[in-house]
């Protein structure tokens, strides 16, 4: 289980995260939504210790992560960010193997090689294993990066949960690959020892795939619960400053959120 309590983080005198307390359970898919500047990425960075909070605490399995070693942390939590820029290009296989870096010393073992093959099959990138990463399309690159990230936490760890964080992973994917990607995340999140926390922009997609939604606004949690509880008109108006229209697909029961084109008159 992942728990954050009283998290605060400021930059240039402005509070980006202003008192966030939440717990995230294994076996469920948690998605964070909110307008630009709400603090979504900052929150993910605090939960992964890519940033350290100015006050508050993040605990993995009840243990404060602030004193963990880099490597100890990297064996349990993996992070996919929205655009990874590779300084000098390399074969796909080598890039995926980087996900195993926290697990081996100088040379990868047979187990590491095996895991790389498995994740590449899972993301259907094994056909491009020997191709140069620089020659792939944007969508292919993102799938390779996801394979690398999952290679890091592919196998269960005794006595500990595994933590997967996704920071706007869908940015460069077309709609088919977005859905495909979210299905893969869902299937990984169904493991009873896996905690998944992600940030997405598309509210309809978030409603469809998440078990639990957190709506972030001005560095605080404005709403937290099931998609139906969070995607309500008053919350969306406050957070996004536009008028939402909530639709339900009569065939599937899926919820969709669209917005009216008129800007909300927020008054003086």
């Amino acid at each position: 289980m992942l728990s954050a309590s009283g998290l605060e983080f400021c930059a240039s005198g402005r509070a980006l995260i202003d008192g966030v307390t939440a717990t995230f359970d294994p076996g469920r898919l948690h998605l964070i939504v909110g307008p630009n500047g709400a603090g979504k990425s900052t929150l993910v960075k605090l939960l992964t210790r890519l940033l350290r909070p100015h006050s508050g605490m993040v605990e993995y399995d009840g243990s404060d992560i602030s004193s963990w070693s880099e490597r100890q942390l990297a064996r349990r939590r993996a992070v996919l960010s929205q655009a990874v820029e590779v300084a000098f290009s390399m074969p796909v296989r080598e890039l995926v193997m980087m996900g195993r870096y926290p697990h081996f010393g100088a040379r990868p073992g047979a187990g590491d090689l095996h895991i790389c093959e498995e994740v590449m099959r899972f993301f259907e990138v094994e056909v491009m294993a020997d191709r140069d990463y620089g020659t792939l399309s944007g969508g292919e690159k993102q799938r390779v990066q996801f394979a690398r990230v999952l290679a890091q936490i592919w196998r269960p760890i005794e006595g500990s949960a595994r933590y997967l964080f996704l920071d706007e992973p869908l940015t460069f994917l077309d709609i088919r690959h977005q859905i495909d990607f979210m299905n893969k995340v869902r299937s990984f999140a169904s493991h009873p020892d896996v905690v998944v926390v992600g940030v997405v922009h598309d509210l309809s997609l978030a409603a469809r795939f998440s078990d639990r939604l957190l709506l972030l606004h001005e560095g605080r949690i404005l709403a937290d619960g099931s998609p139906a509880e969070v995607l309500r008109e008053e919350y969306l108006r406050t957070a996004f400053q536009v008028c939402p229209v909530l639709l339900t697909n009569p065939d599937t029961g899926e919820q969709h959120v669209v917005f009216e084109s008129a800007e909300l008159d927020v008054g003086p």
């Binding site: 100890q72 300084a87 074969p91 870096y101």
Partner: protein
Amino acid sequence: MKARRADRLCLVLLFVLMIATTAASIRFGAIDFSSHDMATAVSGKLAGSNDLTLEQRIFIQLRVPRAILCLLVGACLGVGGTLMQALFRNPIVEPGLVGTSSGAAFGAALFYVFGALLKVNLGGWTLPVAACAGGVLSTYLVFALAHTKHEGRSSILRLLLTGLAINALFMSGIGFLSYVARDPQARSIIYWNLGTLSGADWNSVLVVGAATVFGLVPAVAYAKPLNALLIGEEEAVALGVNVGRLKWIVLTINVLMVAVATAFTGVISFVGLIVPHILRILRGPDNRFLILGSALLGGTLLSVADLIARVSLRPAELPIGIVTAVVGVPVFLSLLRSREYLS
């Protein structure tokens, strides 16, 4: 894995190439030695004989240490370039970027202009000590100025730009010193900025050799975290790399290797820039291969350049910095054009 075996084969080939160029480099020069001359000189020296001929003494005291110094200095510059390009994630970076070589050159220029006024005289060691101190101090200045409380994503970029600025400052300082200096000193400053191995002796081999060993061993040990850095600072942190610590260790290794090498030879440009690129074009960006490979190829390239510097105008010598650029640039450009590199 197949790729690893090919890397190992490539390293063996580079090693053979290095031995071959070294053999040529000790044989040819202002005077050419036959293998018989070389064998008698070495066996005479080993036997402790005191009545070596002038030629034999030239061979033992000048030619051999110079060939070895070439290998060591080339290794230092090549490895420094590989480390800096990996750390800054940038292909145009060369090892002197963080102020090391311009600071060393400034230290050397100060020595040439004011050295006669010095109370402390270290004999032949004064110039290397002045240059090395200049290199270390200017690098420290760059670190100190680039360091802020908020270590974030931009910290490496800030270091790079601070390095550029400090380099410009020291270059203008060197320009000023060579402008106000009288002629022999002014020429020495210019000559030093083009690099030469003519000062090589066994002492310089020992000192640069120590710097090479103490730099190369940790550099190889940190090849894996440097690989993780290829995909970004934040990604490397997520993969369990302590990027803050890695940065300081790698920069310290680079200063050690580049400041010490430059102190004995002057500023030799271009080797540190092209060696990692040539290897990356051949075998990809894996630092586990690049670091060892750049030590071997850096030494080889510098040996070839020094050989050309010694024989092309003999008995006079060209500054080696001129040769490294004239020979290195065409090779580098043709490799750049022939492969899908940097695409």
